[in-house]
């Protein structure tokens, strides 16, 4: 995540940020809206974007799933007066690491070549997925439409 950010920052300037909000239709479980934002229409294919968001939603659902493993973890923690969490990682934390790796991979392979960077939602309090849209500094002052061509050809 960091290296991609630095590369983009030095050669491009931040033009805009798009925020994907949470989808609360199924309760308080972490889920993001898959609605495709207008600002990204010229930057990335709809299917790629939706795939990313759906995969993230699946990760979060897996982290928050209430089932056998979470019960076991909860009961074990209770019996040890929750001291066990000093030694082992909770399931949620393990999934968050997987999510961080996934986002970095997506940034490197798909989003950075298009001049976009996804910020991990955990850094924004799990409220939004922040997508930063970068412009090429070479075409500074021009509109986003023209620089998107150079962005995609850089891939």
């Amino acid at each position: 995540m960091k290296p991609t950010n630095n590369i983009l920052r030095h050669s491009a300037s931040l033009a805009n940020k798009v925020f994907i909000q949470r989808d609360y239709s199924e309760g308080t479980t972490c889920k993001f809206q898959t609605k495709f934002p207008i600002e990204l229409e010229s930057r990335i294919e709809r299917t790629l974007f939706e795939d990313t968001v759906k995969t993230l939603n699946n990760f979060y659902a897996e982290a928050e799933k209430i089932g056998g493993q979470s019960y076991l973890e909860g009961c074990l923690a209770c019996t040890t007066a929750y001291l066990i969490f000093l030694c082992i990682e909770t399931r949620y934390e393990k999934v968050l690491k997987k999510i961080a790796n996934y986002i970095q991979e997506q940034n490197e392979k798909i989003y950075a070549p298009r001049g976009l960077v996804i910020t991990d939602p955990i850094e924004r309090g799990m409220r939004v997925i922040e997508i930063s849209i970068y412009e090429d500094r070479g075409s500074c002052g021009s509109s986003s439409g023209s620089s998107s061509v150079s962005g995609s050809t850089a891939r």
Binding site: I7, R9, H10, S11, L14, N16, K17, F19, R22, Y24, S25, E26, G27, T28, A63, E64, K65, I66, S70, Y71, E73, G74, C75, A77, C78, A81, Y82, L83, F85, T90, R91, Y92, E93, L96, I122, R124, G125, M126, R127, V128, E130, S132, R137
Partner: protein, 510 residues
């Protein structure tokens, strides 16, 4: 790519030498400041200990009372009664008592010291994006209606999400803003002074375990202290028994009064858990059928067992506020530089002490020069406003004084004090208020969102101002205040005005 950065840095170095330059105020060299952890600049009213590992509410007096009560009562029980009971009944009594005591203490400390599920406040860009969306929804009239709600349908039930003016977010369902801690907390249950913390999503199970185990412990001690007295009075008589173990009286009294409240509380929370409600929702009657025929709790899993398991054995979400992380000073922000006057959320200001002193001296010179000539206030206020909210204001002042009356009066949009007919008066008010949050305070805090927050504060008069930048301050504004006093006539000395403007620009970013 990398060259681009160093080139701009070299530009700034040259700006230090020329006295009449209007180049950006970015720092020419980075001074190595010790890295600060995020908890040190946490905006809420919490106290942190052990370098951010422990998080509590501001008022912790009652928590210490709880601790003292538990320790003293249990201490007396173990030293006073246990020996007799272990000898005459069974040694299992102190063992069970000890285990219960340790469990109670562990859960209490866990409840009190952990993050209840605080939602971090919105970044400047997020807040701006939300404001834009709300503007579009409202039709962008000048006046913003105070209540901002969003409706969502959760499992067939319509739920209203409220906008939090302090945190600049739409609160997720079941979240609430704690006025004592000044934070939005996820799945907010209540603020408990006895544990010295809010009870929310992340520490509710510890809280429940605490009150449950405490009720068992209280009943346990109560029962066995009574047993102790009865056994002793069989041997020696009642009065002698009381004389032999005087502490028992104290223990009985404490336990008697505690048992009612604690057992009652445990019962209440058992009911809440089994119906998957929070104290907040129960008190407000959010899901009561009295509100509507179809009103039901959309979060309930249907049966009591699943609800209990979900609340107590569900996955423990991580803390969202990252207390022990280091503050990143190089986060890019969207606020476009208007003639380079903007400061990137005051993070760069942390590194600018040395060269600022030179600029301060020069700026003060310009300011004092300008102060000796009659000056139009409006002109002086203009650059100050720019540092406060760069994205909203037109670029640097025009030459003529009259044209400035326009942007100045339009600035206090939605302020509680409407612009009066005399432009100079309203600008006086604006100058009074805006520099206060434009200046020194942006540099004392490393909140990137301080500046737009400061601007929007005036649009919501009912909100308690949390950023301390709102408070009037003395020092660097002394210069600008002396200038404002009574200078109402428009002046036409453009070059001096330019100098004073530049001086104020530099002064304001010190």
């Amino acid at each position: 790519m990398h060259l681009g950065v160093s080139e701009s840095m070299r530009e700034c170095e040259y700006s230090q030498i020329s006295t009449r330059s209007s180049t950006p105020m970015e720092t020419p060299y980075k001074k190595k400041t010790p890295k600060r952890r995020k908890w040190e600049s946490f905006p809420g009213r919490n106290k942190f200990y052990c370098d951010g590992r422990i998080m509590m509410a501001k008022q912790t007096g009652v928590f210490y009372l709880t601790l003292v009560l538990i320790l003293v009562t249990c201490g007396l029980f173990f030293t006073n009664d246990c020996r007799f009971l272990a000898e005459n009944l069974t040694p299992a009594i102190p063992v069970i008592g000890g285990a219960l005591f340790l469990f109670v203490l562990g859960t209490l400390l866990r409840t009190s010291f952990s993050d209840p599920g605080v939602l971090p406040r919105a970044t400047a860009d997020e807040a701006a994006d939300l404001e834009r969306q709300i503007d579009v929804a409202n039709g962008s009239t000048g006046y913003r209606p105070p209540p901002r709600t969003k409706e969502v349908v959760i499992n067939g039930q319509t739920v209203k999400l409220k906008y939090c003016f302090t945190c600049k977010i739409f609160r997720p369902p079941r979240a609430s803003h704690c006025s004592l801690c000044d934070n939005c907390v996820e799945r907010f249950d209540h603020h408990c002074p006895w544990v010295g913390n809010c009870v929310g999503r992340r520490n509710y199970r510890f809280f429940y375990m605490f009150i449950l185990s405490l009720s068992f412990l209280t009943i346990f001690i109560f029962a066995f202290v009574i047993t102790n007295i009865i056994l002793r009075s069989h041997k020696n008589g009642f009065l002698d028994a009381l004389k032999d173990s005087p502490a028992s009286v104290l223990e009985v009294v404490v336990c008697f009064f505690s048992v009612w409240s604690i057992v009652g509380l445990s019962g209440f929370h058992t009911y809440l858990i089994s119906s998957n409600q929070t104290t907040n929702e129960d008190i407000k009657g959010s899901w009561s059928s009295k509100r509507g025929k179809d009103n039901h709790n959309p979060y309930s899993h249907g049966n009591i067992f699943t609800n209990c398991c979900a609340a107590l054995c569900g996955p423990l979400p991580p803390s969202l506020i990252d207390r022990r992380g280091f503050i990143q000073s190089d986060a890019p922000q969207l606020a476009p530089p208007t003639n380079g006057i903007t400061t990137y959320g005051a993070t760069q200001s942390q590194q600018s002490h040395m060269c600022d002193q030179d600029q301060c001296i020069q700026s003060t010179k310009f300011v004092l020069q300008a102060a000796t000539t009659p000056l139009l206030q409006q002109q002086s206020s203009e650059p100050v406003i720019l540092t406060a909210s760069p994205e909203n204001v037109a670029p640097l002042p025009a030459r003529t004084s009259l044209s400035l009356a326009g942007p100045c009066t339009s600035l206090p949009l939605g302020q509680p004090t409407p612009p009066t007919s005399t432009p100079s008066l309203s600008c006086h008010e604006a100058t009074d208020m805006l520099p206060i949050h434009g200046h020194g305070h942006t540099h004392n805090h490393s909140h990137p969102y301080q500046e737009p927050v400061a601007h929007h504060h005036y649009l919501t008069p009912e909100e308690v101002p949390s950023p301390p930048g709102m408070l009037p301050c003395g020092s660097p504004l002394g210069h600008s205040h002396t200038m404002q006093a009574g200078f109402y006539n428009p002046a036409s000395q453009d070059s001096l005005h330019e100098d004073s403007v530049r001086g104020l620009v530099k002064l304001s970013s010190v």
